[in-house]
């Protein structure tokens, strides 16, 4: 049956891949979010030339399997960099580029279109009059974005952003194909070493489950917070009104 001591060791081994997974996810989010947001802003007017380019990019990424993108970027990009180096007459040592860099490029490349569509939907949901109102009190466009639009976009898209983030965590399991030793990578190595595939995969099964559930809870806490902020005042100020209370509590 299951070898518990082996499982214990495997847990430790796989856990040593958690930092790689975390770095991949966090860097991807940091790089993709601003780019995706700007792209969503451009895409609000679909007739712009730049927006058409972006739309092609979005459809392109949508139609290709992630594994294929990984293979292409991981294998073809060094060659392109090499020939670019030759072109400008400089020797670039592509083998010195860390595998993680390819990881960031791949995951940002596939995340930006998804995120930009999430943001675009959120932007469409902010009524234009609030933007005009922001301008009317003398805000610059940047201030309107920061104080009015962005908070509402994030607030409205929290569920989508949660789905995206957990998806991204799961996507990084393919980073193994770029020789990155994140959680799945460590598990595959451990499995190959010991030929105990079931134990190894069961370990990371629970590891992903716990990580994703935790991320989900964090997002839910944010959602509850923004809900409570609104309902808290409501119930406080309408406390004396039993009819309203009934309607609010649904009894």
């Amino acid at each position: 049956m299951l070898d518990w001591k082996f499982i214990g060791n495997t847990i430790l081994k796989c856990a040593s891949g958690i930092p790689e997974t975390a770095i991949l996810v966090i860097v991807t989010l940091i790089v993709s979010t601003p780019i995706a947001y700007l792209m969503a802003l451009v895409n609000l007017k679909p007739k712009r030339i730049l927006s058409r380019v972006f739309q092609v990019y979005i459809s392109f990424v949508r139609s290709l399997p992630l594994l294929l993108i990984i293979y292409l970027i991981y294998h073809a990009l060094p060659l392109w960099i090499l020939s670019f180096g030759n072109f400008i007459g400089k020797e670039i040592d592509v083998y010195k580029i860390d595998d993680m860099v390819y990881g960031f490029i791949v995951f940002a490349f596939v995340s930006i279109p998804i995120l930009s569509e999430v943001f675009r939907a959120g932007l469409l949901a902010v009524p234009e009059i609030q933007i005009k109102a922001g301008q009317s009190i003398g805000m610059t466009n940047f201030q309107v974005a920061r104080h009015i639009v962005l908070p509402q976009v994030i607030d409205k898209q929290l569920p989508m952003l949660c789905t995206f983030t957990t998806n991204l965590i799961k996507m990084t399991s393919l980073a193994f194909y770029m020789s990155i030793r994140e959680i799945t990578g460590e598990a595959r190595v451990a499995a190959a070493d010991s030929i105990r595939y079931v134990e190894c995969y069961l370990v990371i099964f629970f590891m992903y489950l716990i990580i994703c559930l935790a991320v989900e809870q964090i997002f839910k806490a944010f959602e509850r917070n923004s809900q409570k902020k609104k309902e808290g005042n409501w119930s406080k100020n309408y406390a004396g009104n039993t009819r309203t209370q009934k309607i609010v509590s649904g009894t």
Binding site: S136, D155, N233
Partner: protein
């Protein structure tokens, strides 16, 4: 104090404003009347650069600009001299009433938070909603939202407040409270340019009445004279249609 010259604006080839000239003196409350579609709302929005006009000049408190060529910076500078009250309130849904009012001070004018809060509360007190200050717009009635909208407009002490049909989207029962608030502002000497269909109200607060017809202001007359001796035939027609027991002397 506010001067507009030759303001023109077209939407898809249809000319809505055909060269509007307009002067408003400090302390005046000027009310624009006119048929729907005569360009009243567009005029106000163009003045505040919320809509980009095709031609025309604006001059307010020593700053002059062309509507169609003004830089972003200049637009913001001019906007900060004015406030706008929207037909549909336009409160920021992610901010409480108090934050809505404060934002123009803290974010835009760099006023310290404590002072901004004090001034915002004072403005909210003027519109009689201090007990609702911590509510979100979704928790306020239409009339209350519009009064917060007015508080947001007065808190920055603008040279002029532009009001675009401030009561048009309210239930009849809520119109009174908003008109009362605007009336108090007028009595307090606030300069305002108001578009409204509430003729009796306009008659009671306006310094001058402006009549707009097909994209031009065809008449600007002191209120009493406007109703007793309207100069233009179009104005008479409009007033006869709008007021049931209306009569005038030529």
């Amino acid at each position: 104090m506010l001067e507009i010259q030759g303001l023109k604006k077209s939407f898809q080839g249809l000319e809505i404003l055909k060269g509007v000239d307009l002067t408003i003196e400090k302390g005046d409350v000027d009310v624009i009347l006119g048929e729907s579609g005569s360009g009243k709302t567009t005029l106000l929005r163009c003045i505040d650069f919320l809509e980009k006009a095709d031609e025309g000049k604006i001059s307010i408190d020593g700053i002059t600009a062309d509507f169609h060529t003004a830089s972003q910076k200049k637009q913001v500078e001019i906007r900060r001299k004015m406030s706008f009250v929207f037909q549909n309130y336009g409160l920021f849904a992610n901010k409480t009433a108090l934050e809505n009012v404060m934002l123009g001070l803290t974010a835009v004018r760099g006023v310290a938070k404590a002072e901004a809060k004090e001034r915002a509360e004072e403005a909210i007190k003027k519109v009689g909603l201090l007990d609702r200050a911590d509510h979100y717009p979704s928790q306020l009635s239409g009339g209350q939202q519009q009064r917060i909208g007015i508080a947001r407009a007065i808190v920055t002490d603008p040279d002029i407040i532009l009001m675009d049909e401030p009561t048009a989207s309210l239930d009849p029962g809520l119109v009174g409270e908003v008109l009362h608030t605007i009336g108090e502002l007028a009595a307090g000497g606030t300069t305002m340019l108001i578009v409204t269909h509430e003729i009796p109200f306009a008659q009671s607060i306006a310094t001058n009445m402006l009549f707009m017809n097909q994209g031009v202001i065809i008449e600007k007359t002191p209120t009493k004279e406007f109703f007793e001796h309207p100069r233009r035939e179009e104005t008479r027609q409009f007033l006869m249609k709008s007021i049931s027991d209306y009569s005038f002397v030529i």
